[in-house]
């Protein structure tokens, strides 16, 4: 590196520090003071909701610690044959939503598409909230989370998708927090860089999450390049649904009327969401058709999904509630009717939760040694979430909703000027 470059670099760094100082002193501090005053004078129902949320979080956390105390083998419904249950699927649900929110926010903040800018701040905030909820849920799933913190660093398994996913999601979370801080400071140039870094690490992490399943070559239902691709498409779909859902709720909480750019933004996002539903339906269709001529394990798993014990989840919750009805609602409302958009996005969030659940459970329903035809592995394996597991799922949900409500107040509806 020559001297002039060095000088330039240090000049850049000093500008950044100066910018930050100025922003902090002017907008940030002032905003925060106003926020504090606003927060203390919040409405009664807001505090009721907040206290309720905190109580549920407390109860859920206690349930999690109780499960750790009595041992996960006793507290959870998981078995040797089905070692991944609703906690893994809920983790997947949260991180898919987070990645999706990050992608949706990046369309405006990183790539400069104007119509996506009004939602970007809220989307970045919620991306951080949902990934945190995901980490909390998986924190109660992994048997030795403390060992993970140590050995992920000093004994990295570089061929392992879990390692890449964990590491990249860690980086993703850091970048998203940095982006959010820059956004609060109204330093959009730096926010864009952080957003881009967050987007890249998020997409890489998320496709690795798909590959955790997709690279298990003894699990026919999951194996192949389909899942990493599907996860990204599905993430964008979930992100669109989540931002419509939470933006509508946010305006209800603050009891404000949406301005024109925000309405326009939701309209555009609902159209992107419609497209993504179509793409996901297309992917699911081909997954089924190709799978039906595959190995016996795959065919059995698909049968469990289409006509077996998961048929209700698949046809009613995933396809009807999660995809087809919202698709129709989006199309008929043409993105204009906000209440319809909210209904459709709420249905999607509900359906997508089961989409993740089915993905994780159906992949394990067929026993590994089913082809031996032995008495021990005849038929499909069953799993039922336990009380503790459901409590932790509720903890994740409560954490998301409470932090969201708090965020709406503290960050004043995530307003942002269009630049």
């Amino acid at each position: 590196m020559n001297e002039s470059e060095e000088v330039k670099k240090s000049a850049n760094a000093s500008t950044l520090v100066k910018d930050m100082k100025e922003s902090f002193q002017s907008s940030f501090l002032r905003d925060w003071y106003a926020t504090l005053v606003g927060f203390l004078s919040g409405s009664k129902s807001f505090y009721v909701l907040l206290v309720l949320g905190v109580l549920v979080i407390y109860a859920g956390t206690m349930a999690g610690f109780d499960a750790a105390r009595i041992g996960y083998r006793h507290a959870y419904g998981m078995t040797r044959e089905i070692p991944w249950g609703i906690l893994i699927s809920t983790y997947v649900f949260f991180v898919v939503t987070s990645t999706g929110l990050c992608i949706v926010s990046s369309i405006g903040h990183v790539f400069g598409v104007k119509d996506f800018m009004p939602i970007a701040k809220r989307a970045v905030f919620l991306a951080i909230v949902t990934i945190t909820a995901g980490f909390v849920v998986i924190g109660f799933e992994i048997e030795n989370p403390f060992r993970m913190a140590i050995y992920n660093v000093i004994s990295p398994g570089l061929s392992s998708n879990i390692w890449w996913m964990g590491t990249l999601y860690g980086a993703y979370m850091a970048f998203m927090i940095i982006e959010f801080i820059f956004l609060q400071l109204e330093m959009h140039k730096y926010a864009t860089y952080a957003g881009l870094a967050g987007l890249l690490s998020g997409v890489a992490a998320h496709s690795n999450l798909g590959a955790i399943f997709g690279m298990l070559h003894s699990r026919e239902y999951w194996y192949g390049p389909y899942l990493p691709v599907y996860f990204i498409a599905s993430a964008l779909m979930s992100g669109c649904a989540a931002i419509i859902f939470f933006t509508w709720l946010g305006y209800k909480i603050t009891n404000e009327k949406m301005d024109r750019p925000m309405e326009r933004s939701l309209e555009v996002i609902s159209k992107l969401c419609t497209l993504m539903i179509a793409i996901v339906l297309f992917l699911i269709t081909w997954k089924i058709i190709t799978g039906m001529v595959g190995a016996a394990g795959k065919v059995e798993a698909l049968k469990a999904m289409l006509v077996g014990p998961y048929a209700f989840n698949f046809w009613v919750l995933e396809i009807a509630v999660g995809l087809v009805i919202p698709f129709t609602l989006f199309l008929t409302s043409k993105g204009k009717n906000l209440n319809t958009l909210f209904t459709a996005s709420a249905m999607m969030m509900f359906g997508i939760f089961f989409m993740r659940y089915d993905l994780v459970l159906i992949g394990q329903a067929v026993p590994q040694l089913h082809e031996l035809g032995v008495n021990e592995y005849k038929g499909l394996l069953t799993y039922m979430p336990s009380f503790h597991e459901i409590a932790i799922v509720i903890l994740g949900m409560a954490l998301t909703i409470t932090t969201f409500i708090l965020g709406e107040k503290v960050f004043q509806g995530h307003k942002s000027e269009i630049h």
Binding site: R80, N144, I162
Partner: protein, 251 residues
């Protein structure tokens, strides 16, 4: 209509005892071809022509990269489900009652001629291409460079259970006492490293089902059984491509 009269008393007996050795050999060859194909390239070459398998000792080293290359042949039809192997394993390796490192599966064949039930012992296949090792985020499970045994380093295990998902043979379980995943390691810590020649299960088997030894040693019984061509040898779930070191045969 004229009734066809069958002289049952003087019909030729068709039970297996009357099959000539030539017929038997031809039949076995068919089985050999089929199982050879299904068992994948490595086994196919091993059973086709023993002399042609290794042109030199170098080539043999490549085929069996471990020394000793521990391996087990399960002579499945000899198993009587006495479960002494399971008991011996549990005692030797302190396996808790909610888990197992090895077990015996039962397959009922009500329409079969003769025996109606068979027993299939299963354990960790100590694969040459182990899906569990690839999946582990913290190298808590590795393939031992000397023996080829898939080892657990309990203190590194974070309990994500991805290896349990990855294993094609359901050979892994979470051990509460060890706070880690546990699995068969051919009794490496409890017996082999202390000079014993056999695993606890192989030593306990009264029916000669579990033949344990060094696959890279041409004088060992496992080598002889895997490389003979009279009886078919197969592995479980060959399509996964894990290249197991546990072989099955009925002999």
């Amino acid at each position: 209509m004229k009734k066809v009269k069958i002289d049952f008393d003087n019909l030729k007996n068709e039970n297996p005892d009357t099959i000539t050795s030539m017929e038997r050999r031809e039949f076995l060859k068919i089985g050999l071809v089929v199982t050879g194909v299904f068992a994948g390239g490595s086994l196919l070459s091993a059973i086709s022509h023993i002399d042609k398998v290794f042109a030199s000792s170098e080539e043999m080293k490549e085929k069996y990269p471990y020394k000793p290359h521990y391996s087990m042949v399960l002579r499945q039809n000899n198993c009587i489900d006495c479960e002494r192997c399971v008991v011996a394993c549990n005692q030797t390796n302190e396996v808790p009652d909610y888990g197992y490192r090895t077990r015996i599966l039962q397959r009922d064949a009500p329409d079969a001629i003769g025996m109606k039930r068979e027993f299939i012992p299963v354990l960790c296949n100590q694969c040459n291409n182990p899906p569990c090792v690839r999946a582990c985020p913290t190298k808590a499970t590795t393939k031992d460079e000397t023996t080829g045994i898939i080892m657990m380093h309990y203190h590194k295990c974070i309990g994500c259970k991805t290896c349990v998902e990855a294993c094609p043979y359901n050979a892994r379980y979470f051990n509460e006492e060890k706070h880690a995943i546990d699995k068969c390691n051919f009794c490496y810590d409890t017996r082999l490293s202390k000079g014993e020649k056999l695993t606890a299960c192989a030593a306990a088997c009264p029916a000669g089902v579990r033949i344990f030894g060094d696959l890279s040693d041409p004088s060992s019984e496992v080598y002889r059984l895997v490389h003979q061509i009279e009886h078919p040898v197969w592995v479980l779930r060959p399509e996964v491509g894990a290249k197991p070191n546990v072989f099955y045969m009925k002999f």
